[in-house]
Symmetry: C2
Subunit: 670 residues, 2 copies
């Protein structure tokens, strides 16, 4: 493990675990990275950033005040951006790397509680590029790219998140001066949430309802200057600040923004798709679907992030479970490693399998996204709805499962998982946020359900749609129970179809009884959410199966055996989680549940000797893991005590509150 | 609502909701408090504390540094303790009230992130009283009661939590000087976690392995002075400090403590149960079960706390869901209240029903606890194991469900639920901690499983044991499916018995195949956890049913109808959550699941008009709710913006980091 700190003495339990491992962890690392070269590149990127002493903080962030946290974050963000610029100048600055460096695991190893400048590269510049005309790009991109200006992206409002058509900020066109007037008509129309908006950015792309010639043309993006470039003072009419403390990401400087009739030139509307001519004439975009691209892209990225957070939490909890001894299995025997308790394995290993499931789902989605956006450029739109439906459900299922998984893993570390120094609380804070942003999960599941019901009602061209082609035949699947992944996938498919059919029937019944279709939809929505989720699980298990199958002749036999065990564990665990549905919709019998349960236990046993090896292969540097419980050397207790010493309260034996409050109280008599 | 701030204009949606309510909310408040008198007492207690301006903080805690948070907490804790002493002097100071004031909702409204002195009243004094001899009580209680000394309770160590027999701190007796020598032989033997231990307490009850005359007699409690009473400096040999930042409770000053051969007088061992004579002779306690009492008591309290946290989170999320408008059900109609979405009702209402379920379970457990401890005093021990098993499983199920419930409720508020000012993140932080402390949930479930299997194997006297008497007959229950609570309870009971029988068989099979019983137990533990949990749900639903039934002739018809709906919703939701088990172990068919699902939807509809009324009846003052989203007036957006203004970052338009870091970076050229 060249990338982990190897100088300290390694805990003997971990030495033992690593000796037991039956496969070559390096082989798995390369497989997950996509090749030895990619691993090397990643290591070199990690070295470049993580070994820069300027990018370290003297005092752990959690001991600083809210304001100090922000100031320290700006300091580091500027150094980080400078290094990104260096990479760019060396021609190493692809957009994918940026995300990893700014928003991904590398970035969050450096700015643990968020980077106030991230949206500049991740949203501001991409929006200028995607929605600006050639002229606008010429005017803005170079300044943005060189960081002469720092931008953010202001869409969400205090009163509107998911339902963006409901946004209230108005941009009304004044043909007299050829300006737009930006205005916040209500308190709910204040922009709320954009990262870096509070005190960091001086520009923003603002999404507002476009009014011209007495008509509202819906939401459009506008470039707005927020602060003076020299003094950083908010410009007249700009009411701006940060939104305050949150569950996590307290250095991202999420802001609010209200407009009091702020005028901007006509040319500040991003006009690649729609335009307003100088006289106020509105010229419509040729296709409104073109802006879908970025939204889907972000969801693709989130599935990848869900996998990465899970890997991190699995690494921490698994190493800790190998080092921690507690209780007794047998009287008079030494306390066992807690990983030897079957209940602990049940908390850890299905989540380890989940890391692979989500990783493969993310890979598949990324590939599909590239194919479909390639088609889009040649004007072919037909696969977009399926991609959109798949991205929605995979984002929803992977982030919800990852949040639950990380929390299960945190709780599996007992009290020490509650310590900030375990890094599990903040990992949870980051992963649970993903359930809400970029499309709230329930809303996304209902979007996928809408697609599924449409496909089900039309039943045309099913064979052309890879993720839903199973809808055509699954009904006829009568294969009796087998202890196999293939059977489980078939059963999940048949169940999904059964649930789609039933929900469809319920909607129709309700309509027949006089309900409006929309009300019938709402009345059936608990079922709809359930069937969409199950469809997501079908995609995930099937993708996992295909991906492992592809490896069969590419990896060593030892590694392949482990991959198969992980696939089986993921599949059987999924089946058990929805065994009520399987009993109802397939030929599975009560007795078969016991077979699955026994299989689950067998797989936990099989994976036990390789658990530490697998998480080692995720190959996180200690700085990225950033956990007293999860470091490579496993010196858990020494690190917990060492971290405690960093609390400023421990710098002095007696805190001043003794003299000010405690002593007077104790010495007084009532 | 006399106890809620009623001066501000109430949001019209909430006015409308309150008009729709079909029952008298005050009647429900009195019912939940246990009578009108109790409500009045609670209000007077709330006024006494919450209207004291000294007990308010100028800046919200989340903006302070870790150290400042502690100092502010000590300031408030001293004022709070002084007020508690005033109450005592007026004869109003019962121990139950103390818990509410110090650890309960009232206390956490004042010290939002924990009270560093709580353990003095909640653990230190009760331990002196419960385990000290009459002489020891005479020596210590008065000083402790008058707060001349402040104590804590130090049991958990860095390496040992749940398994207290494994504690490593040693107290070895030296008959020469008639002293105990306290010593921490390893790093894992450091005490870790006790509240107030870091810098607040100057005394502690320390639990250590007692060595005398060359023999280890297991763990015993000792009174140890930690700090000088005048200077507060740690005494020689005492290595002490705080453990550092955590997910929550950052003002509780949880500490660590190591001993380097610290001598204390023999008489500092708490000797009510066991003694060490001057010559070192150990005299054993007559019954080791006598110390069970406190442990069970704390778990009783936690079930109550789980109910209260749920009520708080339900109040916030329900009021917000009435005020928040988003998306569309029908095109061209205004955005509906999000509470009109069935999926939102599904997140809210089963949790509202859960508040009642846990409240009634807590009431029942409290009563049972009092009965059984009454019996204990007359030497009758036979009901102790059943009480212990019930307390374990109810603590585990209620805290786990409450944690999941609070998190579901937080997520149901979308992005705003991520704001600290919603008070949902810190509520989650407090409730999830309960899953771990005072007995880790998985460990507790296994203890209940052990009791159940023992009872099942012996099958004697089943009728005498109220919580498990159903084991005798449930097997024979062949009643076919009915849409009734009674049927659901019978089905859950039958399922529990089926699972106990199967797990028992699996253990026996494993033993027959040559496994040691303990290993067989471990290999079956996933099943054991599952059956214990289900047993807990049986108790909860059955207790809920009986409690509602008891109200039939005591409350108005309107209120009774609502209580019945809540009971039905809780029961049907429980049945659907474990419908896989019900399909396997009972005569329920796939078709019946659809009946339950339709019933669930029907109940959500029925409860919709009363949702705000029910949470209003929980009767939390705004200071206790402490949430921008959940206040009585529902002015959600105004409050969010107002709370944001309290961030010190918003006190100046330009933060100094612009000049120090951002401007130099932006103006430079690479």
């Amino acid at each position: 493990m060249p990338s982990s700190s190897g100088n300290s003495k390694v805990n003997p339990d971990l030495v033992k675990e690593r000796k037991k491992c039956t496969f070559n962890t390096l082989e798995l690392t390369h497989l997950l990275d996509g090749g030895e070269d990619k691993t090397r590149e990643r290591h070199s990127r990690e070295n470049f950033f993580l070994e820069d002493p300027e990018l370290r903080s003297e005092v752990p962030l959690e001991y600083l005040s809210h304001k100090e946290k922000y100031e320290e974050a700006v300091r580091k963000a500027c150094i980080l951006f400078r290094k990104v610029q260096e990479l760019q100048n060396e021609g190493k600055g692809g957009m994918e790397n940026f995300r990893e460096i700014l928003g991904g695991q590398l970035g969050s190893a450096i700015l643990k509680d968020g980077n106030p400048l991230t949206l500049h590269y991740v949203m501001f510049i991409p929006t200028l590029m995607g929605q600006g005309t050639v002229n606008q790009q010429a005017e803005w991109i170079q300044r943005a790219w060189g960081c002469d200006i720092i931008g953010t992206y202001a869409q969400t409002e205090l009163g509107h998140g998911t339902f963006i058509r409901g946004l209230e900020t108005i941009a009304s066109y004044d043909p007299q001066t050829e300006e737009f007037i930006l205005h916040s008509p209500t308190i709910t129309s204040y922009k709320w949430w954009p990262g870096g908006l509070g005190h960091s950015a001086n520009y923003a792309v603002v999404v507002a309802q476009l009014h011209t010639q007495g008509k509202n043309h819906g939401i459009h993006p506008f470039i707005v200057q927020l602060r003076d470039e020299e003094t950083h003072m908010p410009l007249p009419g700009i009411k701006i600040g940060e939104i305050g403390s949150k569950l996590g990401m307290n250095s991202t400087n999420n802001g609010y923004l209200g407009f009091e009739k702020v005028r901007i030139p006509r040319t500040n509307m991003l006009m690649k798709n729609s335009q307003v001519l100088p006289d106020g004439t509105y010229v419509k975009s040729p296709s409104s679907k073109l802006t879908y691209g970025t939204m889907i892209f972000v969801r693709v990225v989130l599935v990848q992030d869900a996998a990465t957070y899970m890997k991190k939490a699995c690494t921490i909890a698994t190493r800790y479970s190998a080092v921690r001894h507690q209780s007794q299995i047998k009287v008079n025997e030494p306390e066992p490693q807690i990983m030897d308790f079957l209940t602990q394995q049940h908390k850890l290993f299905p989540n380890i399998a989940g890391c692979f499931a989500f990783q493969y789902a993310a890979n598949w989605l990324w590939e599909t996204y590239n194919n479909v956006t390639g088609e889009l450029e040649s004007g072919q739109l037909e696969n977009l709805p399926e991609l959109h439906a798949a991205a929605c459900v995979l984002k929803a299922v992977s982030t919800a499962d990852a949040a639950q998984g990380v929390e299960t893993l945190r709780l599996s570390c007992g009290g020490h998982g509650y310590m900030t120094s375990s890094n599990l609380p903040s990992t949870y804070g980051l992963v649970t946020a993903m359930c809400t942003y970029e499309g709230e999960n329930t809303v996304l599941l209902l979007q996928t359900a809408r697609f599924l019901l449409k496909v089900w009602q039309n039943k045309q061209n099913l064979q052309k749609l890879p993720t839903v082609s199973y809808l055509e035949n699954a009904f006829r699947n009568n294969s009796s129970f087998q202890k196999s992944v293939q059977w489980i996938i078939g059963a999940l498919q048949k169940t999904t179809v059964g649930k789609i059919d039933l929900a469809n029937k319920h909607i129709n019944d309700r309509v027949r009884n006089g309900m409006a279709y929309e009300d019938a939809w709402n009345s059936t929505s608990i079922e709809l959410v359930g069937l969409a989720e199950l469809h997501g699980r079908v995609i995930i298990v099937e993708t996992f199966r295909i991906s492992v199958e592809k490896c069969r002749n590419q990896v060593s036999r030892e590694l392949f055996a482990v991959l198969e065990q992980l696939l089986q564990l993921y599949a059987v665990n999924t089946a058990l989680r929805c065994c009520g549905d399987l009993l109802k919709y397939t030929d599975m019998q009560g007795k078969d549940v016991e077979v699955l349960q026994a299989w689950l236990e067998e797989l936990l046993n099989q994976l036990r000797p390789n658990a530490v090896g697998i998480v080692d292969a995720f190959d996180f540097r200690d700085e990225v893991i950033s956990s007293a419980l999860g470091s490579y050397d496993g010196n858990v207790y020494e690190r917990l005590l060492e971290e405690a010493q960093k609390s400023p309260l421990n710098a002095e034996p007696v805190n001043k509150s003794f003299k000010s409050y405690l002593k007077p109280f104790m010495k007084s008599q009532l």
